[in-house]
Symmetry: D2
Subunit: 146 residues, 4 copies
């Protein structure tokens, strides 16, 4: 039902704060993990992109924190691609607790294609096509969108 | 012109990533610093709130990253309060580079008032009033809003 | 050959710094992961200890960084227990890169048994015995030491 | 009495863990802050070194955690240089709580001079001399050691 990629996370002790929950900053690293994992699984490693001179900084981030998470809890990061344009990609994330399938957080991030000098640039055509091929379709089957 | 509180940040080496910029996760800690500093300056310490049994988790976060930041650069976090309701507070942030006054990022976070058991609860009246007194007014003078 | 527990780590993008390597701070979280994973696998969860009122803060840490690690590289954290005393436990760690079996770092941490008030206290006898049963023996077989 | 450089730190909320103390990982970033601040105050910025092709990775770290620190507490990082050799520098740190002058932690880190290719290399002579001029003398006056 949920298209895209799933990455398992277990809350680290170092990620908790004195409220006894995972600090809201840690989620940002988890979304990045979900995104990079999804790209790697589809032959698009960040490291490889950077060797080609393409950086993909996050230019917008939106997170809704619905439930707290405790130390050692296991969550799945469901990552999908909502939109691919010539210079930007929009990723969506859903964090779902493994034990009880409770939705913990939802998020969206927008990545910009940028060259080493910091100028926005077009995604290489093969990368754009590969990402476009992963775009989530309304029916949620993904992969056959472009 | 910018109402509210100003907190100085210098980008730590540990906050950079291999793009040679401050990682976008670090900003989330800086917004928190701006917010907690603003509260402390107005007699409302987080630690004090927690001793009274009130937690203030972030339930929504929105960030626009406009420019990258390099190691050792100094930025001012301008924090202001946009809205105070009985159970939630909305903070706004503007990161401005010290050297050239360039706007680096803008963000908003929504905090929920919660008790130790994780249930939403009303802000204590003195806290609500103190926060309401800090709400930014349209004219940007702040402090005389409530 | 290496006794104890093995935990797989993949270097996160957020853990890199502008040298293009994993920042030396990140390793500290990985050692903690190795240690907590080893304890959990042996029925001794940190969370469970804390519910019984026992905290285990790190009071000493020693790390030798032998090789750098790049983004996305996979390493195994080999964790073992070197010594258990009434109020402290000594853990050893070896980080080994998965691909080529190169030793990346070696470390030792000493944990103190402490109560909620911050006073050193004896480990509960069942915990002490369980940890002692995991002590690495000179021959490296582990598990039958106590 | 304490030679070298002093850098003020205030414990960030994001640096606490569920024990209600600053996580032991955070100290590693504070030592780095103390070290980079000391170098910058003496005209030796890390960023500048890197532009000259010299990296200074940490190859050894030793920390003694003597007391815990709570959120919002202010500590001074006293940094000094213990030894300078052709390819390495040894820094010492003492964390002292501002309020009551209690010693919180002591640490030592060893930095290696390395080129971009990851090979150990000699420190440039001007850098070596500048660092040597900061070496702590037994009497603690510093600055005239080399």
């Amino acid at each position: 039902m949920i298209p895209g990629s799933v990455t398992e996370i277990r809350v680290r002790y170092a990620e908790t704060d004195q409220m006894g929950r995972a600090h809201h900053m840690a989620y940002v690293a988890w979304f990045e993990l979900g995104r990079t994992e999804m790209m790697r699984q589809n032959g698009l490693s960040y490291a490889g992109m950077e060797r080609r001179g393409i950086l993909l900084p996050v230019v917008r981030l939106e997170v809704d924190y619905l439930k707290g998470l405790e130390y050692e809890e296991v969550v799945d990061v469901h990552t999908s691609i909502a939109e691919v344009r010539s210079r930007r990609v929009v990723f969506d994330y859903r964090l779902v607790r493994r034990d009880d399938a409770v939705l913990i957080a939802e998020a969206t991030s927008v990545l910009l294609s940028m060259d080493r000098a910091g100028r926005p640039c077009r995604l290489p055509e093969d990368v754009r096509a590969a990402l476009a091929g992963l775009v989530r379709t309304p029916g949620g089957t993904g992969g056959d969108a472009a």
